[in-house]
């Protein structure tokens, strides 16, 4: 009698633990499935393929004369491409780093010294600094001047005076050949 009873409890316990395992396993597998189903939904609001295709722009720089600046659009923003004069290059390299609010060597901001490529968006609050055209105010340091709150950038695009905290951003770029630059 007792043997039978203890056998029954033993199998009941066994089947209880088997069911617990099956229960845990089934619910875990279900949760994993539900988790995997979330990814496509989340990914669908990542940038779509047509926006990613515009992630880089190839620019033909052969027509840009020395001393001339051109503005191109990259990822929806203006990018300043300047063919600098020797005077501007020398001037940029002569500046003492300690005098800069955001110290950065000119050599670190250019791959080829005569080509300065920067995102034309003021690092203060996002206005577009003037200075691309000869007739624009260029500020006290011969570079660019932001009319919104008076930030002055030098001929290397570094902030010298005014509320902007950092230098104009240099985007990733590479020279595909002497006449083409790929930005982004």
């Amino acid at each position: 009698m007792t043997d039978q009873a203890s056998n029954e409890t033993a199998t009941a316990e066994e089947s209880a633990s088997r069911r617990d395992f099956l229960q845990i396993a089934t619910y875990t597998v279900g949760a994993v499935g539900a988790g995997m189903a979330v990814w496509p939904i989340v990914d669908s609001i990542n940038p779509p393929a047509d926006v990613l295709a515009l992630a880089s722009s190839e620019i033909d720089i052969s027509a840009i004369e020395v001393g001339q600046s051109v503005t191109v659009i990259w990822r929806g923003r203006p990018v300043f491409v300047r063919h600098r004069t020797d005077g501007e290059i020398e001037e940029s390299r002569a500046v003492q780093l300690e005098s800069l609010p955001d110290p950065e060597k000119d050599e670190d901001r250019t791959q080829k010294p005569e080509w300065l490529i920067m995102v034309g968006v003021c690092t203060h609050l996002g206005c577009i600094p003037g200075g691309q055209r000869e007739t624009d105010p260029k500020g006290e340091f011969g570079g660019w001047f932001c009319p919104c709150h008076g930030s002055h950038y030098d001929s290397s695009g570094r902030i010298r005076k005014g509320p902007a905290p950092t230098n104009l951003v240099v985007p990733p770029y590479e020279f595909l050949d002497d006449t083409t630059v790929k930005i982004g």
Binding site: S15, R18, R19, L22, Q23, A25, T26, V29, G30, G33, D50, A53, L54, E58
Partner: protein, 262 residues
């Protein structure tokens, strides 16, 4: 008694399923002249189907050399050609052969520039009216979705391309300038036969028969209509396998839990 109920329910469900299935497949052939389409072998059919890359490349060549003169491919971008196996530089070259309007420039004028991979395929005509003017009033439709926009899909496209007749058979009058086609509804089609043997020369040495051309362009157009097909089927197999496993576990767990009642 319970088994009987389950059996009857399953039977009822099966009958309903079959009836609805029959109704669905039977429902659309209401037009009197329903053409029997021969079913072809396609590499992309079935749950494991994929697009034959050779066929896609040859099909693109046919589109570019034969169809693009009249038919636009508005929803395909040049960069999409990388998916059929063309490399980045080839795609840039292909795009650059076409011009797109851009602007305005600093003078306020619109200008033309070479197309880039990110641009969509340039259409042969500026608008529908221009297309009709160049084609005796007929409008060559855009081909991006054609494989899904016709009943019969790829089999229809293939049949249409190879079943032209030189002369309309007796009893079928066709109007001036029209062509007789067995598959096209109404049998009169404005488009002249586009494909013959050796219409296009294949670089990969595949025999350039009319049937081969038709197969290749149909494969290409099925890709333009469903570029997601391979990814969709791959993911589908994973999902269905997962569900089969999970269903098995659920059946076992359900039985275990309900066993308590008896």
């Amino acid at each position: 008694m319970i088994n009987d109920i389950k059996l009857r329910s399953a039977f009822a469900a099966a009958i309903l399923g079959i009836m609805t299935g029959v109704l669905f497949t039977g429902s659309a052939s209401a037009s009197g002249d329903a053409v029997k389409l021969a079913k072809q072998e396609w590499s992309f059919k079935g749950i494991f189907g994929t697009f034959d890359r050779g066929a896609l490349k040859r099909g693109y060549q046919i589109y570019a050399e034969v169809c693009a003169g009249c038919h636009s491919l508005d929803f395909v971008a040049y960069r999409n050609l990388q998916e059929i196996g063309l490399d980045e530089d080839t795609v840039k070259e292909i795009a650059a052969e076409f011009e797109v309007e851009d602007g305005p420039n600093d003078e306020g004028e619109m200008f033309m520039r070479p197309a880039r991979p990110s641009d969509r395929f340039v259409a042969p005509f500026a608008n529908e009216k221009a297309a009709r003017a160049s084609n005796n009033g007929a409008f060559p439709p855009d081909l991006s979705l054609m494989a899904k926009a016709r009943k019969g899909g790829p089999d229809y496209l293939y049949g249409l391309l190879i079943r032209y007749h030189e002369e309309a058979p007796d009893g079928h009058e066709i109007a001036e300038g029209m062509n007789y086609n067995e598959v096209f509804p109404g049998h009169q089609i404005a488009m002249a036969q586009p494909l013959y043997d050796e219409t296009v020369e294949y670089e990969d040495g595949t025999p350039a028969t009319m049937q081969q051309h038709a197969k290749d362009i149909t494969t290409f157009l099925t890709w333009t209509a469903s570029p997601e097909m391979e990814a969709r089927k791959k993911l589908g197999i994973k999902v269905l396998l997962f569900l089969l496993v999970w269903t098995g576990m659920l059946i076992a767990l359900k039985k275990k839990i309900w066993a308590k009642l008896h």
